[in-house]
């Protein structure tokens, strides 16, 4: 077949969509804004629920792409022109890419934790995000406080930038809870003398093996869970972090000192999702993500002929969700192009 499909966004959803389309016999071109494909999974160390290495999932895709998918990195899209029969995508470097169908896979960004002011990210050095922690894991770094000591107690905060009118995001980012449980276990394994406290409102263990992971975190690793959303973090004179929270199950306010605080930052629609969605004239929901043609029956279609959506650009998703969704999108494209 000579039909050309352009996939915008080289994260795992975009990668998987491009491979599936290539395997179905289409010319698949993957446009990626940054220097390399792989998206956020490049920054992760081990994946929930079974703590398998993130690299394995990337390699699985990368190997299958080789020789089959044309990848253009550093592809900064400045204009998309829709004609009767095709699309013309103009890159900043002047290159023009033509497509018979487009798959938008522009994904998410992590909530910028600076914006949750009362948690002190970017002000108190011992406050970091889950992404910062995961990076330390990936780089094989020791988990130490800013002062270089082994933390005696670490706090993990759920719902940072999610389920929060003040942060501007009312929605749940879905995967942070299980990420928190995973990271709690990883910390406990690395630092057996360190206490870990997770501060949550709900524990969203929605996927297969998630609830069992939570059970393991308690039974095998002694992770503590306190049902109370963090209200405020302050810095003590020694650089440790003072937490103000309510233990809602006990019905009492609680002040707790931790040596390191980890913020589970949620999802927001990425800059690319906002820009490409606008360029194509796609509708956005109140939550800022792209709204597909039908949220039950046609989650990969849009109201624009030839434009398809997949991955986190239509809402927070796990890696499993994204890969499955990408393959589904590919079948929809194939259906359209036949």
């Amino acid at each position: 077949m000579n039909k050309k499909v352009v996939i915008i966004g080289g994260g795992i959803a975009g990668m998987e969509a491009s491979i599936t389309l290539a395997e179905l016999g289409y010319h698949a071109t993957l446009l990626e804004k940054s220097h390399s494909t792989g998206g956020h999974v490049q920054d992760w160390y081990q994946l929930f629920p079974n703590r398998r290495p993130a690299k394995e999932v990337l390699t699985f895709s990368e190997l299958r792409m080789e020789g089959k998918v044309k990848t253009i990195n550093d592809a900064d899209i400045i204009e998309i022109e829709k004609n009767i029969n095709d699309f013309r995508i103009l890159l900043r470097n002047g290159k023009l890419v033509v497509a018979d169908a487009i798959v938008v896979a522009t994904g998410f960004d992590l909530f910028d934790a600076h914006r949750k002011e009362e948690y002190g990210y970017g002000i108190y050095e011992n406050v970091i995000t889950s992404a910062d922690l995961e990076k330390r894991f990936s780089e094989g770094k020791k988990i130490l406080t800013h002062g270089g000591a082994v933390p005696k107690r670490i706090g993990i905060i759920h719902c940072v930038g999610s389920r929060d009118e003040k942060s501007g995001n009312n929605y749940c980012s879905k995967v942070c809870c299980v990420t928190g449980v995973k990271q709690a276990i990883e910390i406990r394994e690395m630092l057996p003398e360190t206490e870990v406290f997770c501060f949550y409102m709900d524990l969203r263990m929605f996927g297969r093996h998630f609830e069992e992971l939570y059970k393991e975190s308690q039974e095998k690793w002694g992770v503590n869970f306190i049902r109370g959303r963090l209200s405020e973090a302050n810095e003590n004179a020694d650089g440790s972090i003072l937490l103000k929270v309510e233990d809602t199950l006990a019905g009492k306010p609680l002040k707790m000192k931790v040596d390191l605080l980890i913020l589970l930052a949620g999802f927001v629609p990425s800059g690319g999702t906002k820009a490409i969605g606008k360029m194509l004239g796609l509708p956005f929901g109140d939550d800022g993500f792209i709204t597909p043609k039908d949220e039950h029956t046609s989650t990969n279609l849009t109201d624009i002929q030839g434009v398809f959506v997949t991955g986190s650009c239509t809402g927070p998703k796990s890696i499993q969700d994204s890969i499955a969704d990408a393959r589904a999108a590919a079948t929809q494209v194939a259906n359209y192009l036949k």
Binding site: E117, G122, I123, Y124, E232, N234, E235, N236, A237
Partner: protein
């Protein structure tokens, strides 16, 4: 701690503060406990900065304390507020400057309520017309008096005689800045710097040479709590809140506290005296306590106003140690004299607090 992190947040909370032509409304508490501060504010505005500040003597309390004691219904409070607006409108002004933080919070709350519930504004217009015959326009700009001093802090620094620096060591003074709860907690976008890292006092301190201390209980209420202080049986709550703050700030060895709400400096000042009597404990150096100031007093000191004109003699925690640190001269014999220099006696010394 990375102060640059705070600067990013401060950028997001800039607010419109009028340049000139202010309608000034006074504060029940500030007049009662810090009258020199209102005098200083007006002197600075008119004589130092050359601004037009107008006061209509027919203005009254905004009823804020009564409202927050829940004895004055919201309809009554809104209508009294509307009357203040009417006096402002009639005088041809559009920029309202309250001296009190509770007032500032209340005016903001009333205007926001009317935005969400326009029928409330309509109702209040009718009430005001019926009760007084007056009509009003909502202020175009509402800024607290501390916002104005903040806006002109650099000009004040330029004309200043003194800086918030320890003249012996050359080091900036360590300053605790305490913001009134009703300044930004209700409507963070209406406070310079927002609710979490307010900048209105920090900006003054920084431009006047001092260094702001961050301590864990920085945002904690001083404990006024309206009914929690006004009724004797409840006062334990009030002193406990202030004590919490003192215990938290003490390790950072602050030289002084600066506040923008009129009630807070009274409480932070008097509760140190009370704690010293109740528990024998004093904060600060040599049993002197940590001196507490209104921002008007600090601005006045910077500009070289006489401390006893500013009203520092009405502080229970002595301010002389701080004046000495800065190198501001004062005549100890003039401290307790009356308006015409008459001798009206001196207060008894407290048993624990070292008032020299």
């Amino acid at each position: 701690m990375k102060v640059e992190g705070k600067r990013l947040i401060w950028k997001d909370y800039q607010k419109e503060i009028a340049e000139d032509k202010f309608f000034y409304v006074r504060s029940c508490i500030r007049q009662t406990f810090f009258p020199g501060s209102e005098w200083a504010f007006l002197k600075i505005m008119k004589e130092v900065l050359g601004k037009d500040v107008y006061e209509n003597p027919a203005h009254t309390t905004c009823t804020g304390i009564g409202y927050h004691s829940d004895i004055v219904p919201f309809d009554t409070t809104m209508t009294v507020v509307a009357r203040q607006f009417a006096l402002m409108t009639e005088a041809g002004y559009q920029n309202l400057v309250p001296s009190c933080i509770t007032s500032f919070g209340l005016y903001t709350e009333v205007m926001e309520t009317w935005k969400h519930f326009p029928e409330e504004e309509k109702k209040v217009r009718e009430y005001l017309k019926k009760a007084t015959g007056r009509e009003f326009e909502v202020p175009k700009n509402l800024a607290h008096a501390s916002d104005i001093i903040y806006k002109f802090r650099k000009q004040i620094a330029a004309k200043g005689k003194y800086r918030l620096i320890n003249k012996t060591t050359g080091e900036p003074l360590k300053v605790v800045e305490h913001i009134g709860c009703h300044y930004a907690k209700m409507f963070p976008s209406k406070g310079v710097g927002g609710a979490e890292y307010p900048y209105v006092l920090t900006g003054m301190v920084e431009d006047w040479g001092g260094e702001v201390i961050d301590y864990p209980e920085r945002r904690h209420c001083c404990g006024f709590g309206f009914r929690q202080y006004l009724v004797k049986a409840n006062r334990g709550f009030s002193v406990a809140c202030s004590k919490k703050k003192f215990e938290s700030m003490a390790p950072y060895k602050p030289d002084m506290i600066i506040t923008n709400c009129p009630g807070c400096p009274m409480f932070l000042d008097r509760w140190q005296y009370v704690i010293s009597e109740m528990e024998g404990k004093t904060y600060g150096e040599d049993g002197h306590g940590i001196p507490v100031f209104t921002y008007e007093e600090v601005a006045g000191l910077i500009l070289g106003f006489d401390p006893w004109d500013l009203g520092l003699q009405l502080h229970q925690v002595p301010t002389e140690p701080l004046l000495n640190k800065i190198g501001i001269p004062y005549d100890p014999f003039k401290k307790y004299l009356g308006k015409n220099g008459e001798d009206i006696g001196i207060p008894i010394k407290p048993s624990m607090l070292n008032t020299q």
